[in-house]
């Protein structure tokens, strides 16, 4: 996606930003992120049993949770763009396919979708392998992380399609007409004129989608992905300390989501352009 750096001299700082701001444009809500990190550190240091043990056991899951979330999110951005363009396509077949995708996926719980990808989909592949006599397909075994990533991508891609669609439709019609009348094709106009403007509009909802995705990634623990939640459940089974375990799990998610929210705000601020 082409992004043009806003280079207005003295680009005015957004006065409608509801966040409290200290001197030097420092976002005070960062304090909350630091506070939660400090709380984790304090628990680990002052009550090492079980918090230090819990942290050390669960921390392997942080990377997995982030990996699944970030890979899925990058794919979601692509799928959502294709889905969003499909939703507004003039061609009724393309628009129909995109609409069915969005409506069907949004109508099925994410947990059920994840289970489909991990448990049902491999059986389908194996069945096909049996039918066509392909031993490679017949012995197909699903990788939990891959299936979880596909599941999250398919589901969030549908929601993201609607975000893109709304963003693109919020750009005045005259922008497309001006681009087309200069001889650009529909896709050139989308790429160089419409989408760069739409991206600014959809940044806040896209940021929210990322944070939702991060939280919903905890569902992948059900399909054998060793994320924060699954590691937490395993530690609880070992330690018989559900309260401390899930306090630690909750705090870890909280750090990640609060940090993400700050990043979203920061990105919004630097890409803000007067219009």
């Amino acid at each position: 996606m082409e992004e043009i750096e806003p280079s207005v001299p003295g680009n005015p700082i957004d006065s409608h930003n509801p966040l409290p701001k200290g001197k030097g444009d420092f976002d005070l809500w960062w304090g909350l992120v630091i506070g939660v990190i400090a709380l984790i550190a304090l628990l680990v240091i002052l009550v090492p049993d079980p918090f230090s043990r819990a942290f050390n056991f669960i921390k392997d899951g942080i990377g997995i949770s982030l990996f699944v979330t970030i890979i899925s999110f990058v794919l979601v951005l692509v799928v959502g763009l294709i889905g969003g363009l499909g939703r507004i396509a003039k061609n009724p077949v393309i628009a129909g396919i995109a609409t069915v995708y969005v409506e069907v996926i949004r109508g099925i719980p994410l947990l059920v979708q994840l289970m489909f990808w991990y448990f049902a989909f491999p059986s389908v592949i194996q069945g096909i392998g049996k039918a066509i006599g392909s031993s490679a397909l017949e012995n197909y075994i699903a990788d939990p992380v891959v299936m979880a990533t596909i599941g999250l991508t398919f589901c969030y891609g549908a929601y993201m399609s609607e975000v893109y669609r709304a963003g693109i439709q919020s750009i005045p019609k005259g922008q497309m007409e001006a681009a087309r009348s200069l001889g650009m094709t529909y896709f050139q106009a989308m790429r160089y004129v419409i989408i760069p403007q739409a991206v600014r509009v959809i940044l806040p909802p896209v940021g929210n989608e990322f944070i939702s995705l991060l939280k919903d990634s905890s569902l992948v623990s059900v399909v054998a992905v060793g994320d924060i939640t699954l590691r937490g459940r395993q530690f609880m089974a070992l330690s018989f300390k559900p309260v401390e375990t899930f306090i630690m799990v909750a705090l870890l998610y909280l750090v990640l989501t609060l940090f993400s929210a700050r990043m979203v705000t920061w990105i919004e601020r630097i890409t803000k352009l007067e219009r």
Binding site: I4, G174, E177, S181, L182, G183, Y192, V193, Q197, R200
Partner: protein
């Protein structure tokens, strides 16, 4: 007379049940400046937008620079040769003035950045705002924005320029600066089709003035004849209201 650069034959256009164009035929010669006037809803903007197929017509034929506007394939070829200026300017709001003028040059005309910027700066000189090259559209007045929009269209070296009510959204004191630019273009021999109610511009620059009403051409004549001695009652009625 040479072959007309725009040939419109019996064009019909429907918006749902509304019959917006009812068999319009018009030929425009190379270098000619034609101004279309008429009440709102008369189909003048629709006709203009049909010439570069921002609106598709339902019946009839339009040939622009020997290219018939019938298949989807040739439409971008036509649009590259036909510049369009809109009532609402429609500058790309995320790009600077300079980027607005160079974008299509780079993509469509495949010009190098330096060459495209040279073309853009020359045109900004021509429309009188070279100092605004680095500004964003929102930082310009309406008149300045419209002059940038004209420069953006000219940067593609079009053979024809279409103007859709270019001064209707402007404050009165900014109208003249835009008309001056258009007047210079007309003097240079640009083929222009202008939807406008600027009678001064029409008298000074137009070879022909056309009155449209109810989706039809009512009368066409050189501006002085149309304004001073209209033959049709409808023309007299319209002129009595706007002159």
């Amino acid at each position: 007379m040479s072959e007309a650069i725009i040939q419109i034959k019996d064009v019909h256009k429907y918006f749902g049940h509304v019959h917006a164009l009812k068999g319009v035929s018009l030929e425009i010669q190379k270098g000619e400046v034609v101004v279309i006037i008429g009440p709102s809803g008369s189909g003048k903007s629709t006709l203009l937008r049909c010439i570069n197929r921002l609106e598709e017509f339902d019946k009839g034929s339009i040939v622009v620079d020997n290219i018939p506007l019938d298949s989807a394939k040739n439409i971008n070829a036509v649009r590259t040769e036909v510049g369009m200026v809109f009532q609402q300017f429609n500058l790309f709001s995320h790009l600077t003035v300079l980027e607005n003028i160079t974008l299509a040059q780079k993509i469509i005309r495949k010009r190098e950045k330096a060459q495209a910027e040279k073309v853009a700066m020359d045109l900004l000189d021509k429309v009188g705002i070279p100092d605004k090259a680095k500004a964003f559209p929102i930082q310009l007045s309406g008149g300045q924005q419209q002059r940038v929009a004209i420069a953006r269209a000219l940067a593609m070296n079009p053979k024809i320029m279409l103007f859709d009510e270019p001064t209707s959204a402007l404050d009165p004191e900014m109208i003249q600066e835009v008309l001056d630019v258009m007047m210079n273009l007309a003097k240079e021999g640009m083929t222009m089709v202008v939807v406008s109610h600027e009678m001064g511009f029409t008298r000074a620059a137009a070879n022909r003035a056309i009155l449209m009403d109810g989706g039809q051409i009512i009368e066409e004549a050189p501006p002085n004849i149309l304004f001073n001695n209209p033959t049709h009652e409808r023309t007299k009625l319209f002129l009595s209201k706007v002159l």
